[in-house]
Assembly symmetry: C2
């Protein structure tokens, strides 16, 4: 079972690594990180670099295709290499998936036309322009298309997919293996739970990251 | 503020990337991944490779030192390069931290003598031999030593540290930024919640990974 995870410049690491940590533990999983070239790709913050072990040209099919998000996705929406790869591989998949603003890339590839989908809460307004129906759920499964909300939602999506691919017992075993018994010290993980001044801090942080000042 | 995250062969990716995703968003954060050499290090499963941007020889101090876990930690407990680096840098830190079996490396460096600490649930019996007092909590803060339970607990630890380093509002903003509003599809993240047959599946998986067969 081939799980192909796209890499590109200025992706968000946890978007890719959360689902990787879950799905790579499935029986028979063969995970491959794929980029426009076989090289390292740096995250949005620049301090972390992941290696793509294969190029888009080398990967023509996948059982699970995953596009992570990050500030880099806006540039990627018009990147023929990545968008063309999604268009080419999507018809071969069991599951075509995204985390965070990765769904904007799926949308740019025409995959979300008329499909319910989610993205990071701060980007929900961008989904409709791509033909998708924005749905405020953490993980949205519609046919073979699975989109997850922002960043950390990829872990929940990974477990949801693991249950479909290998059964609930195996998914639970993976959850136990990664000790995913979340106990965040605060309950501020969604705008409906966070005070307006917290939302304001995030907006400023996001702007900094989008402009790349945090990567300097 | 320098956050130094150790890399070594056969580490577990989410142990490092969970806290990275939180702590790298702190104001003034300078994250550096550090290994015995500046090269890529492969995870326990082998499919993912992260680049160490600095060598142990180059990093003499850190505000936050973090050791991730993984099957590789057992070999690392007698690795003079990593253990020596922890011994050297620990006196310079504000916070010395670990995720999952990374605490066994802290223990091997003598950092946990007489200190309450946690590790992955499957390795709790190994802590006492290192002089630590095993405590079954998700994140254990004792003085400047902070240990987290298995794999995904590093995200909760990251937020706990973020609050100490930059205040609760900023920690909440980071939680909101990574949309950490966990909704696992199952409630099997700790042995006290999982059925015995699920624990049995994990034990078999862990053995496979420890023996490296999953990396083949």
């Amino acid at each position: 079972m081939r799980i192909a995870i796209a890499l590109f410049d200025r992706f968000t690491a946890l978007d890719a690594v959360g689902p990787y940590e879950v799905l790579s533990r499935l029986p028979g999983a063969e995970v491959v990180f794929v980029g426009v070239e076989k090289r390292i790709f740096r995250t949005d913050i620049g301090a972390l670099a992941l290696l793509a072990g294969a190029s888009f040209a080398e990967i023509d099919h996948a059982d699970v295709l995953l596009v992570p998000g990050g500030p880099g996705t806006r540039a990627m929406m018009s990147d023929e290499a990545l968008v063309g790869w999604v268009k080419r591989v999507h018809p071969t998949t069991q599951w075509t998936t995204s985390v965070c603003t990765g769904s904007l890339v799926l949308g740019a590839a025409g995959v979300l036309a008329g499909v319910d989908a989610v993205t990071h809460w701060g980007a929900m307004h961008e989904l409709a322009a791509l033909g998708a129906n924005p749905v405020e759920e953490r993980v949205v499964v519609r046919g073979k298309i699975v989109t997850a909300a922002g960043v950390s939602a990829g872990i929940d999506m990974g477990l949801t997919l693991a249950a479909r691919l290998a059964g609930e017992d195996f998914a639970k075993a993976i959850q136990l293996g990664i000790e995913y018994d979340p106990q965040p010290p605060f309950d501020a993980g969604h705008p409906r739970k966070a005070a307006p001044e917290i939302v304001e801090i995030v907006a400023r942080m996001a702007l900094d990251r989008q402009q790349g000042s945090a990567a300097a």
